[in-house]
Symmetry: C2
Subunit: 410 residues, 2 copies
């Protein structure tokens, strides 16, 4: 399925390994073909003492990884009774018939350690590859993991990583930190922080940047003696130079940070969306516990909906147009009043591909944040495809709320 | 940034190549380190006549690909005046200062073909690698492409693929088709269609499955003489066996199919969401032209919001609980009446991680579809993490509307 499936598991695995102090030097994807799989694993065993594979352990005819790796390593496989019983129980509990095809998942190569799968049927396998099978050098390990993220992730976290930390302890001191900035371009960030970090870079700090729509990741990393100190010093510099543009660190998200700030302050939010079509509400409600602070959301795509449920005057819509600062303001104030929330956040814009004009091109968006002491309005031009536009606009709106919450503390 | 960034560009590239008739045999990711990049490209040139790279062409200090590949191939680089002017113009048009660091993007290796970048500053580069530089064999090509999807995608589609089809025409007849099914498990699908397709498989049909939350992709592929006929015959078999479970083909999405059916029939939709928090509205409004059929969405997280805006009786909420078939029904009927839409779609459930009980565990969801001649209610148990739960529930709800639209034709 090379190219058909997004390799989110590989990205997740690399990040886990990197956070645990390992350096991932290569990630390879191959088609669901026995020869390609076997060749890639053999090549990897020439280069590395530990090879992790994901996917290809399932019940269908294109699941070839278990059989191919066993064959290349010269290992017989047998049906493991214990594994088979677990699979049968998995189906019984769900009131489903045990299909013949799923039984292949109970095949275990000789000498392999079985990694039970709490969230699916195919167990993982850990195989020790003796020196002779590699053509010399020390013994290596191949770990076969299932592809579906909800099976892979707990299995890796609970059964592979603890073993790995014991069997291959990370050797050198190492520290890493990711800071996330909104509202700035990648080049502007580097010109602002680069010179100030030059000294730390000379001492071994590694700086990385990743620009994404609405977001730049600044990665600080160092190895060897003093690594943690260098990374901490670099973080201070970056935070000082970029100030409130840094909205989070590590795995934090804009919605998580904003909901967290609302919860800490005991304040509530309601949202009225036109062009983002529910994405702001969706992101807010992705955060566990959002129900404490998120009162309600409206997706008012039509003018009639804006007037009827948010009280936006029809005359205002006629005079200013639905995509205007005045309508964004009226929507924010309307949603705040209707819901009784502390903050009313509203967006109106042109996601495209149609609907643009010379005065208001595709990508135009007005957003407003209403609170007790007044309403602020911002205007942005995000000339992107429809989905990227929606994402960036939602990021800008959440960031507007976040910045307001910071200022209200001061 | 290996492991820090999701390789959506690689997946996209593989798919484009595959759809154009090429077989992608390997995809490799390496860290942003000069040696790792250079080594991977040199290895790839041993194996392949065409190597595509993405990323590492930007202005920051970790953008090393252009310089490293030039060095390894023994090519001098020079600043290209034309490219530099385009970069300067890019910044001027946006009212931004031309930072010194961006000028590195105007460096071009000797003999390289420049691929202009309509959506960013770094151009792509196409380099011919003479036979001697590969240590024999025929001449090869390395194509360096930018990483950001909105720069990469048009550059590949408009400048690389047309050249590729001329320079390396796909050799054999080939056909492929992806069908998408909802509501069935991967094993059940294979048991249903596998035996019926055995004859075609013996003649050279390749069957692939990919299970994702709420979705199974069935991939039909064949090469050589009669490929198109085999794939078409297989598609008939699959559609016959799985019937309405097949909601789309190729790049079609559930939301795109559902909005398309509503548009064709001139019917309208409104949505009331509790547990999915706006995701159904977001998916519907991702479809260009959704405004013709989507009237409004409510995200009624609290009981008060359900009562006030959707008219769900407070007594019903107290007696049945917010997560119940009766409340889903009342929400769907309420949103239909309030909005004046032909269809009112509503969801209420427990996304978790908190809020479950023995009678209504985390993952419980009730969904209802109201229309003129009545209201249907469905119950599902999606015991997943919060975001997967939201995704599957939104898929089930959109599929409920899709199936209703099909039945209403009959």
């Amino acid at each position: 399925m090379l190219g058909r499936v997004l390799n989110t598991h590989q990205q997740w695995l690399c990040r886990q390994l990197s956070d645990a102090g390992y350096e991932v030097v290569r990630q390879v994807a191959v088609p669901d073909a026995a020869e390609a799989i076997g060749e890639a694993v053999e090549e990897a065993l020439q280069r590395a003492d530990l090879v992790l594979t994901t996917g290809g352990l399932g019940p269908t005819s294109d699941d070839l990884t278990r059989a191919e790796i066993s064959r290349r390593l010269g290992l017989e496989t047998h049906v493991d009774r214990g594994v088979l019983e677990v699979i049968e129980e998995f189906f019984r509990r769900r009131g489903r018939e045990v299909l013949e095809s799923v039984k292949v998942q109970a095949l275990v190569p000789e000498g392999a350690v079985v990694l039970p799968n709490a969230h699916g049927t195919a167990p993982g396998l850990r195989i020790e590859v003796p020196s002779r099978a590699r053509g010399g050098g020390r013994a290596a390990h191949v770990v076969l993991l299932p592809g579906p993220p909800r099976e892979l992730r707990p299995m890796f976290a609970e059964q592979v990583l603890p073993w790995l930390l014991r069997a291959f302890p990370p050797s050198a001191e190492r520290a890493a930190r990711v800071l996330r900035a909104a509202g700035w371009g990648e080049s502007a960030i580097e010109e602002t922080i680069g010179p100030a970090l030059a000294g730390l870079v000379a001492e071994g700090l590694v700086l990385g940047y990743c620009a994404r729509p609405g977001d730049v990741e600044v990665r600080l990393e160092s190895r060897g003696e003093g690594a943690a100190g260098r990374v901490a010093a670099a973080e201070s510099v970056v935070r000082h130079r970029l100030g409130g543009a840094i909205y989070g660190a590590g795995e934090e998200t804009m919605e998580g940070v904003t909901v967290g700030m609302l919860r800490e302050r005991g304040r509530t939010l309601a949202v009225a969306e036109s062009c983002t079509g529910g994405l702001v509400a969706h992101r807010v409600t992705n955060v566990p516990g959002a129900s404490e602070v998120f009162l309600a959301g409206w997706v008012t795509y039509s003018n009639a909906a804006k007037t009827r449920w948010l009280g936006v005057p029809a005359q205002l819509l006629a005079e200013e147009g639905a995509v205007s600062a005045a309508v964004a303001r009226a929507m924010a104030e309307g949603v705040r009043k209707e819901s009784g929330a502390d903050y009313g956040l509203a967006l109106t814009g042109i996601a495209g591909p149609g609907g643009g004009s010379p005065a208001k091109p595709v990508g135009t968006v007005f957003m407003a944040l209403a609170e007790a002491c007044g309403t602020r309005v911002e205007h942005h031009l995000n000339a992107m495809d429809r989905e990227t536009f929606k994402w960036i606009a939602s990021q800008q709106a959440l960031d507007m709320a976040r910045r307001e919450l910071i200022e209200s503390d001061g």
